[in-house]
């Protein structure tokens, strides 16, 4: 066993050092912009050798740890490459004058100062908060009513469930263009006939904001409805039956039994709506592209009357070609979403303990 262990140790160390050497060579060649065709092969073989070295390392504890790491590695690697590294780089770029091509100097908190001095950005934050507040209430209300309908004894419930959920399967951009046509044509014909207003809802900031809310509810209520249906189905039948025998009216059953019993579902749905509404981008882009005028906000005429936070960040970076400022705004956006998510997790955990 000892001989076996020592030979394994030798193989392990050989693989580890060989692997590290190959990877270092490959990375040096890459840094030198070498065209050597074996760079990739060196890198991959080096990685495999390191993994083999760890695998052969002769203790049970290491062996088990290695197996866990190997199974976690693909996910961890993807997570680091797609989330952690861009996050760290993004935070770093927000302190520079990076334009997507070059980085010439560090500017400290200048981008942060600049973004808070922009009335258009402050407007986007306020508009997003307002949008979130409206949607948290309206989406949940509509979804809950639809869930009640879909858990009743109506005929064709399967059809209704599918029909209400269907808009959620359509991409936001497509949805935005479909509704743009509806608002610019169908709704305008109605408003022209009823109120003699020949311009579409989308041509005014206030009504365009309402239009975005309507589309968002149409898109998202079906998804939230499914969660409420699951919640309502967990209410025990015998409790409902007992309430019925005791003479409880349908309204009493709803408010005294069903809603209290699905409180955790309501919490989950509320936070889902909250985080999702904060990140609103695609419908906003396709429906109004953030346009709309505000005649006076903090002493300025604004041209981004319906531009929410995510779209403002995109426009700052990509359209206005100001990547570092866009990064600074994105960092703030991240902080807001992180705080909301942490609060969500804390409250959800607390509810679970209470239950």
């Amino acid at each position: 066993m000892a001989v076996n262990s020592s030979s394994r140790r030798v193989i392990s160390l050989a693989c580890l050092f060989g692997g590290i050497a190959l990877m270092v060579i490959a990375l040096i060649l890459d840094a030198m912009k070498s065209d050597a065709p074996f760079r990739g092969a060196f890198l991959v073989i080096g990685m495999i050798a390191i993994l083999a070295g760890l695998f052969f390392f002769p203790t049970l504890k290491h062996h088990r740890t290695f197996v866990y790491v190997v199974f976690l590695f693909p996910l961890l690697f993807t997570f680091v490459v797609t989330v952690i590294i861009p996050l760290v780089l993004g935070i770093g770029y927000s302190f520079t004058d990076w334009d997507g091509i070059r980085l010439t100097k560090f500017v400290g908190f200048a981008n942060y100062g600049k973004m808070f001095s922009q009335p258009s950005f402050i407007w986007s934050i306020l508009l997003t908060v307002l949008f979130v507040a409206f949607n948290m209430v309206l989406v949940n209300l509509v979804a809950f009513l639809l869930a009640l309908l879909c858990t009743s004894k109506l005929r064709g419930l399967g059809f209704f469930r599918a029909a209400y959920f269907l808009p959620n399967l359509i991409g936001g951009i497509v949805l935005g263009y479909i509704w743009q046509f509806i608002f610019a044509n169908v709704v305008t014909n109605l408003t022209t006939a009823l109120f003699d207003n020949r311009y579409s809802m989308l041509s005014e900031s206030k009504t365009a904001f309402i239009a975005i809310i309507i589309v968002y509810i149409w898109q998202y209520a079906g998804y939230i409805m499914l969660i409420y249906i699951t919640g309502l189905n967990t209410v025990p039948g015998e409790v409902l039956e007992a309430a019925s025998i005791d003479g409880a009216s349908p309204m009493q059953t709803l408010f005294k039994i069903k809603i209290p019993m699905i409180a955790p579902t309501i919490t989950i749905c509320t936070f889902l709506t909250l985080t999702s509404a904060f990140k609103q981008f695609d419908v906003n882009l396709a429906l109004t592209n953030g346009t709309g005028s505000i005649s006076n906000f903090l002493g300025e005429y604004l041209t981004n009357g319906t531009e929410m936070l995510a779209l403002n960040i995109y426009n700052t970076a990509v359209i206005n070609d100001n990547y570092s400022l866009g990064e600074a705004k994105a960092v703030l956006f991240f902080i807001i979403l992180a705080v909301v998510s942490i609060v969500q997790v804390r409250i959800s955990n607390k509810k679970e303990v209470e239950l």
């Binding site: 997507g100 041509s203 592209n289 346009t291 041209t303 070609d321």
Partner: protein
């Protein structure tokens, strides 16, 4: 056994997926002009008028006009047939910003050898573009893009024009001579004349002007606003773009005259199109002969309309007789790419067989003086008459600060809705521009 087979299959799929991720794709649509014969390179270079041969690996061109992708693929085939060199055309489609995509390519170390830029994007690539001064093609055009730091950097592959596009047949029926439309008074009189004959002419309105900002902001914010910057000026006159780029200043008197002209367009436009219309509605209204004028350029119709098409100037001051004409974007060569290959392609592209494809198949208007092909575009004759007479202004609107059009287009929309009068338009657009430049 089944489990092992499944595991093997999944491993295979994962490996294939990772290999695919690692491959140097990038091309949304690309085509090599079949297999390149390196032996033909020297001959190609000789034909193209250059002394040095390209690398032979193939030149990658990033095209920003998806509508001419097929024609550019034909161009690549022709280039390969005639020179043995390979051209790989990659096209960025739809609403994707070529500028943004190029930045991603740069960060991924996957830059094409030739790519498309608009004039105001040159500074973004400062020090990275090839100075092509002295190349054979530069002697055949006056439309190349020059930059103070980098020299002659932009190859003009097309010329586009924008002004007030008109239906000549309807104007003739209404008794209006388009050549007379060189002053605000003449325009007002023409509008009143045409408007009075709407039923007889079978039109909806005099203008098909659309100030909708969400989808047509590029039209009002860039092209129509560009008339304020350039109308009536010589192509090299940069008075108002210089003023604009100097902290966002405007000439209030000129802007007031421009605002009054736009006010006239608002008054005589189709109200259904003016605020909520789309590009398709606008162009269809013109081709259906429902509008006499539309605020687009020669790109809006590329085939025969069945009526005479032409351009009239935005004459918001007396004597304005120019249209905006020139390349809206350019092909540039990347300094760290295949420079000789790019130069060889540009020289070949300015020649007869390439121009044949670009003009006759792609419907572009050639920027080269010796091109013998007349564009099929119905506006070509009118464009040519302005260019030949020297009555054209530059596309200096492309030199304004990036993203400004998304701000100014909203002011046009508010003016169209009647929220602002001419004075309100001037003061609002001045404050919007000033604050955007201050950001």
């Amino acid at each position: 056994m089944k489990k092992k087979a499944l595991a093997l299959l999944m491993t295979g799929i994962m490996a294939a997926g990772m290999a695919a991720c690692g491959s140097n794709g990038g091309a949304a649509s690309s085509n090599a002009g079949t297999d390149a014969a390196a032996s033909g390179d020297a001959q190609a270079a000789a034909d193209a008028g250059t002394t040095s041969a390209p690398s032979g690996k193939g030149v990658r061109l990033l095209n920003g006009k998806p509508e001419i992708d097929a024609q550019l693929q034909d161009l690549a085939k022709k280039y390969n047939e005639e020179t043995g060199n390979t051209l790989l055309v990659e096209t960025i489609g739809g609403d994707t910003s070529a500028s943004d995509e190029l930045k991603k390519m740069y960060q991924a170390d996957n830059m094409p050898d030739i790519f498309v830029i608009e004039a105001n994007q040159a500074d973004t690539w400062d020090g990275m573009l090839v100075d092509m001064a002295g190349e054979a093609w530069t002697d055949k055009t006056g439309f190349e893009l020059t930059n103070a730091n980098m020299g002659t950097i932009g190859f003009p592959y097309t010329v586009e024009a924008t002004a007030l596009a008109y239906n000549g047949d309807l104007l003739a029926k209404a008794g209006v001579d388009p050549a007379s439309l060189t002053s605000p008074e003449a325009w007002l009189e023409a509008c009143a004349t045409i408007d009075a004959q709407k039923d007889a002419l079978g039109i909806t309105s005099v203008f098909g002007w659309c100030a909708e900002p969400a989808n047509l902001g590029w039209s009002s914010g860039t092209h129509v606003f560009g008339q304020y910057l350039d109308s009536g000026l010589k192509p090299d006159d940069t008075t108002y773009i210089d003023l604009l780029n100097d902290g966002g200043q405007i000439d209030e008197a000129r802007m007031k005259a421009f605002a009054e002209f736009i006010g006239m367009m608002n008054e005589y436009s189709d109200p259904d199109l003016l605020v909520d219309g789309t590009y398709d509605d606008q162009v269809k209204g013109f081709t259906d002969q429902k509008y006499v004028f539309i605020t687009q350029g020669n790109w809006c119709v590329t085939e025969d309309t069945g009526f005479e098409c032409g351009f009239a100037p935005y004459a918001f001051e007396d004597g304005f007789n120019t249209i905006i004409a020139g390349p809206p974007s350019y092909w540039v060569a990347y300094k760290d790419g295949d420079v000789e290959g790019a130069k060889a392609f540009f020289n070949w592209c300015a020649g007869d067989s390439a121009q044949n494809i670009l003009v006759n198949d792609a419907g572009l208007v050639s920027p080269f003086d010796d091109c013998k092909y007349e564009a099929v575009n119905p506006f070509y004759k009118s464009m040519k008459s302005y260019i030949d007479a020297g009555n054209y202004s530059g596309w200096h609107t492309m030199l304004k600060k990036a993203g400004l059009e998304n701000k100014t287009c909203q002011v046009f929309a508010d003016y169209a809705q009647g929220k602002l009068d001419a004075d309100g338009f001037v003061s609002t657009i001045a404050s919007v521009i000033k604050s955007y430049y201050a950001e």
